[in-house]
Symmetry: none
Subunit: 261 residues, 2 copies
Amino acid sequence: MNAPLYNRFVLPDTQSGSLQVVLVSPRNPLNIGAVARAMANFSFSRLSVVAPFEPNWREARSAIGAPALLVNAVESATLSEAVANCTLVIGTETLTRRKPEQPVVPLIDLAPRVGRELAGGGRVALVFGSEKHGLTREDLSYCHLLAEIPTDLLQPSMNLGQAVAVCLYELTRSAAAATETPPVTSFLSTTFATTSGRLDLLAGVIEETMQAAGYSPRVMQAANRHDLRLLLRRLSLTSHDTRRILGLFRRILWRLNRLGR
Amino acid sequence: MNAPLYNRFVLPDTQSGSLQVVLVSPRNPLNIGAVARAMANFSFSRLSVVAPFEPNWREARSAIGAPALLVNAVESATLSEAVANCTLVIGTETLTRRKPEQPVVPLIDLAPRVGRELAGGGRVALVFGSEKHGLTREDLSYCHLLAEIPTDLLQPSMNLGQAVAVCLYELTRSAAAATETPPVTSFLSTTFATTSGRLDLLAGVIEETMQAAGYSPRVMQAANRHDLRLLLRRLSLTSHDTRRILGLFRRILWRLNRLGR
């Protein structure tokens, strides 16, 4: 039996280009380079780096075969900014005992969800935390869901580059396995999904309205902001929904402010 | 929803103990350490190192959480010696255009073959070549078959630790998939779903708020009510969400009415 090529599947170009890998606060440039290399191995090209520890990360020698990917990577100061135009933001973590606030999807079940989003014209971010601490609770509040890599409970912490390699392998593997299955038409066409940036805008207006209405004491503001971010991401709002809700809250806010003057 | 444990499958202890990872002529101890870490992540413990370049490889700091695995690893001078007691020796490589002399199995199809061997009491070796050149033709001649990782043809060469992580992930993933189908856990447990009556109550308060805020002309009220009903049902609100949103709108409404008096 000679080497068959049938197991060489990738997402369609236009789709893999709509998936970005986001690294939050990576410490070691060698790890960033290793991530770039794994991305090239599995045919992904869009890398975002949020608040990297070392300024010279683009020169990482470990990006074997993928230096251009590092040069073209996007650097931003915050995760909010990095995923602003994404319609589906996925946090990643290995198996832990703590209770996440987002829906958890085993890695093995992630690909169909990602595939639907991309097929509908959406933009997906796959987010990895720093080597030491993973994603913080605040980072996670920008995520619609959480993909869980099934590691050993006694030794769950993965090397960053290895975690990225395993996730991207799984996405391409599943895309391969799924090519012949007809696409499930999701109720909510992702073409009309709301970007993360729009959700942040909406959250801002709702928060302002809460304050104008004296909804809760000042000490509760940070907690409310956090809960609101989670809630808005859980609702699968269409861009049309978002526009209307935004319109409603702007109107309420205007009214509260005018009456309260 | 909390982290489900159903996606945590491993090979039975006696079986994962019968599978060894073999590294042939690894150059960089950091890579050996990274391999050990990945093995611990996916619950494998037997490592063999053949003709390592650096004598002090057992001290690799990259073996996070797996120093004992390095200490217990077996060093040998030749591959022949390392796999002497194995019943199935599997070489690994990424996608290449050259024609191997062994049967090639796509990585995705490897697990059943490995599972059968282990279940029958066999001993399996998974062999990885050096960072630079992979497995030589002579190395391959000790292999019963060749597992192929489906990488991009333009960028096939993987980092050693990442290649091991991907292969071991795939073996445990497939073992999991073969054991049983996990129950489909809906994101929104119906226990906490909102009843239709509660949604109507919420819709009523939102509608009243719209009117109090002068959100839209009276002729639009029926249309808005209809859209709102659809929207609230699409959002899969939990009873907790509903209570909070209701609280917010009641507060806004109270404020609007008081100010407007």
